[in-house]
Symmetry: C2
Subunit: 316 residues, 2 copies
């Protein structure tokens, strides 16, 4: 059996790209210190800052909450958590309950913002009515979720929002943007990206951690694993990309880190691209005249009103 | 059996991404007109210009020669062909003989420039002596081949050199750069890339054509196929990348074109990155003080001199 290269205990994990073998406590400690390094490397959070943690309730975001909570003491951060309730019956409820249990244990504030209160419809309702198949359920939901996070951050009065995106997520998203021909959006992936029209920064303290490492951290920390996955999840291309990247990493340990480095080098060249036109309806940033939130909201509302209206005449 | 969507003849090829079915003459004609469009879209070659065609003797470069020859009449281009003889016994000789046969048939000049005459050693000799395993044989050879093409272009007095890189090559190279963490080199992939220190432009008229289409064009044109492949070829990562990209294209027809579009969008942001420091030994452009050609040449010569020297003393 392998021995922890740090303390001589029984190793539970081997980092293939570095050769390091780690026991459970040293592994968990390494996750905290790696996250700390990522945060300082990209100047993600300042000393004494008010930080909003976006907590879906899944293993990654709960891990982020634990790690940031541990780091917050020495950095004098003021953490507050919030969850977005998209309104997916039998799925999000469980996750939010998990999030609430952990935040209570840590003694942190926890707010929930729902699509229903923000937009007038739940995701269940919107997808039920959605007829436009040009946008996948995940992209559709993502447009509303990003805005909901902004709203929750404003309410909580934080200057920075931390999300639990890990190295795998980052690299996949980078490649997905290329596969969609969406290079302008690469700007969003810049760790230093900021939009003057919305002063709350977004940071990804786990962006240098493998998905398998955040999962192991969650497991070793006894965090609850969600039993159901989102019923609308349709990954398509992303799961192909995940497979390719995992195969590359398996054959060339450390490849995900190389890809991250390249991605950062590329996105830094797009940092000046901004969504700078204010939406003519809501005033939030948009790439053209009307932002995606207003555009999709209107499409959903048209369907709802149509569905609620009088039944069509005719029909024998 | 499928029918040619252009002339009603018997189709030999179907373009999955467009749905077009084409007979042999219409397919060949489409390759010529697509190449013509690529050349004008990126302003690759000006009317009346002297064009050097880099001909390895493989199917792609021989196809390029045929297509450019056909287009040269209406554009008043002056074509001249050249081959680089790396000095690989039993491999390059056959290819150069093929190149010579085709250029003779077309009535074009054809020059050959060898590593031996330019650098003092053949690739066979250099790789025999090479001990530095940090550079793959293909990267090693590539450094010398690029310089040899520059030399051949200067000799031939052309202002632009056309190489036969196709869409697959382009996209693979783009991704390979990312997987090597080599983002600065992306500048070289810009179709408008130019280096003031070397006034001969490089263009890739086939960069919007699938590899399978250039191969079919070669086959339908009766071009000779090389029977042996380079004995030093070791593709490693590139063949993995080729497989992934081919799988993506199979599942999502047109994906290679999307990737090309994204790649072009990305490389355009790197276009200002130049290899701008003159090499302290040969004066050619380099990224730092000494160019790769001089650096690797010296390493090879040290090995050669060491091997030619007196035998080591001792050894019982």
């Amino acid at each position: 059996l392998e021995v922890c290269t740090r303390c001589g205990g029984r190793a539970v994990y081997t980092r293939r790209y570095s050769g390091e073998a780690l026991c459970a406590p040293c592994f968990k400690e390494s996750i905290v210190s790696k996250t700390n390094k990522t945060i300082s490397r990209y100047n993600m959070i300042a000393r004494g800052e008010r930080v909003g943690v976006a907590v879906s309730g899944g293993k990654d975001s709960l891990s982020l909450l634990l790690v940031l909570d541990e780091l917050s003491r020495s950095h004098d951060w003021h953490l507050t958590a919030f969850s977005i309730d998209e309104g997916v019956e039998g799925y999000r409820d469980e996750a939010i309950a998990n999030a609430r249990a952990i935040t209570e244990r840590l003694g942190l504030e926890h707010a929930t913002v729902s699509y229903k209160e923000l937009y007038g419809f739940s995701l269940d309702q919107a997808l039920d009515w959605k007829e436009d198949r040009s946008v996948s359920s995940c992209s559709f939901c993502g447009v509303f979720r990003r805005r909901a996070i902004d709203e929750a951050a404003s309410k909580a009065g934080v200057s920075v929002v931390a999300t639990a995106h890990n190295l795998d997520d980052y690299v996949q998203t980078f490649l997905m943007n290329l596969l969609h021909g969406d290079v302008e959006r690469l700007a969003w992936l810049d760790p230093a990206y900021s939009d003057e029209s919305f002063p709350v920064r977004r940071v990804k303290p786990f962006m240098e951690l493998y998905e398998e490492e955040t999962a192991l951290y969650a497991y070793l920390s006894g965090l609850p694993f969600q039993s159901v996955s989102c019923p609308y999840m349709h990954e398509g291309l992303r799961s192909e990309v995940r497979d390719y990247v995992n195969q590359l990493e398996a054959g060339h340990p450390g490849m995900k880190h190389v890809l991250l480095k390249s991605s950062l080098g590329v996105v830094s060249r797009f940092a000046s691209t901004k969504l700078s036109v204010p939406c003519t309806r809501c005033g939030k940033p948009s790439s053209s005249g009307v932002c995606n939130v207003c555009r999709l909201k209107e499409a959903v509302n048209q369907q709802i009103n149509y569905g609620d209206g009088p039944p069509r005449a005719g029909g024998g």
